[in-house]
Amino acid sequence: MNRHLLSAADLSRDDALLILDTADELARMSDRPIKKLPTLRGRTVVNLFFEDSTRTRISFEAAAKRLSADVINFSVKGSSVAKGESLKDTALTLEAMGADAVVIRHDASGAPHRLAGWIRGHVVNAGDGMHEHPTQALLDAFTIRRRLGRASGLDGVRVTIVGDVLHSRVARSNVALLNILGAEVTLVAPPTLVPVAVGSWPCEISYDLDAVLPKSDVIMMLRVQQERMTAAYFPSVREYSRRYGLDTGRMGMLPEHAIVMHPGPMNRGVEIAAEVADSPRSTIVEQVANGVSVRMAVLYLLLGGADLLGGADLRGKPRDAKASMENKESMVNR
């Protein structure tokens, strides 16, 4: 996994901090007249999106372009993939085009892992099925760090994640990454929407949102799909909203300093009330901006250095003290 970013759970604490610190520096670029760095000039980044997602795709596109990389967007609709070309054949086409990195979003868990076995380039998971969405978790951690004024990790920060955990790759990545950074995570959902074995996850579970609110520094709302209602996960949107929605009353139960997050897109009025989404506590808009900085950091750290496989430097020297390379599962090349 050290040439790719497939899963937040594979990151060491040092690697996660390196990404966040790098994103910090890159975020300053947004104040500049020229928001461009030459670092990835001549490299090609392909956005391979099998699922519709304008928001994430644009974020990765902006990140790659700000590093002067060439970007190719490959979305499923109207492409050969829609006509039945397999993932593998698509991968081989990209390989032939010389993609240095492929950012892939797919509705099948594990698709990025398979892709990584078929191409030489670096693979960034932009969301695979119900499995993970590592850059989302990274930008969420980045946002928390900034808003709560933390310099390094998130030790002791109490994060509550509310919603459809069972089907949520954002939840999985966040539970893993927040835990790596030292935060204390609590999941709140109806029992039908947590995995059977969630007891083995590094977090607490609660079915009672009101009880958890006063003890939360961060509350992260997940989108709830209406289709879940027909599969009997909950009886009605109204009941879900009443028991698990964040309305202004519940927002008032949060501590003063607490922030409200949402990965988007939101169902206003279902999991989150409009007034809450628009309140000063809400980080929803800045999460988007932070996404570009974090994705720039990821692309830089994956592509900006030596490529051990066939690259110039084969000696794999350790990095400096600022980023420990001890963990063999760390994201960046040695």
Binding site: E25, T39, D307, P318, N333
Partner: protein, 238 residues
């Protein structure tokens, strides 16, 4: 491990250097991570970070704290002289050690002229031409004063000038940040072996070296003491 040198002319002639090297087998080789870092003793100037102090082969001190102090004082005066009293001057240090040097110069200039001289830091990692030779490096801090660099005389400050590639990267970085009226370069040590047509405007000490040698600058802000060390490089560098 290090020979005490008498203070005085800080210039190291050939005799002094060979005396330092010959017959001196030091325990321990070079630390593995010595050269792969934010510092730049890899042909592009700068010196390794604090963690690699134990490294080295034989080293000797070629500049003592007092000499460094005097050199910086002189540079500060020179800057004031050539920029008409630091009118519209901005000192930008290249991380890591260029930054404390920039701050010291700014403090000194401020003393002499009784006005504040703005200073900041300019990280050039993203503009380097040798990024692909090593694993991706962590970024240093870039911090400019609110007024920016447009129309200013920017003095880039670094600890060691070697191949000139770091400075070229700094010029590219400045180009994306704005349009200075002029750009000058101040370095504590110029060790020769330029690979690009770049020269320093202000030099603390000229230190002729061979490519087989390594120059290390220590500063109290980062390393606990002030010194410039010259030692033999243990492995050839790409």
């Amino acid at each position: 491990m290090m020979r005490a040198r008498s203070a005085g002319d800080g210039r190291s002639g050939p005799d002094a250097r060979s005396a330092g090297r010959s017959g001196d087998r030091q325990p321990g080789g070079s630390a593995p991570g010595r050269d792969s870092n934010v510092g730049h003793d890899d042909g592009s100037g700068g010196s390794p970070p604090p963690s690699d102090q134990a490294a080295a082969g034989s080293q000797k001190r070629v500049l003592e704290p007092a000499e460094i102090r005097r050199a910086l004082t002189r540079i500060a005066h020179e800057i004031l002289e050539r920029t008409n009293g630091a009118d519209d001057v901005l000192l930008l240090g290249i991380p890591t050690r260029g930054v404390p040097l920039a701050r010291r110069l700014a403090d000194r200039a401020a003393e002499f002229e009784d006005r504040t001289v703005p200073w900041g830091s300019l990280d050039v990692t993203m503009y380097r031409d040798d990024l692909r030779l090593r694993p991706a490096r962590a970024l240093g801090r870039t911090e400019l004063p609110p007024a920016g660099i447009d129309g200013k005389t920017v003095v880039i400050v670094d600890d060691v000038l070697y191949s000139g590639r770091t400075v070229r990267a700094a010029l590219d970085a400045l180009n994306d940040l704005g349009r200075p009226r002029a750009v000058q370069l101040a370095v504590l040590v110029d060790r020769g072996h330029r690979e690009l047509p770049i020269r320093a405007d202000y030099v603390g000490k000229n230190l002729p070296t061979s490519q087989r040698e390594m120059v290390r600058v220590l500063l109290s802000e980062t390393d606990g003491e002030d010194a410039v060390l010259l030692g033999e490089r243990k492995e050839a560098q790409v």
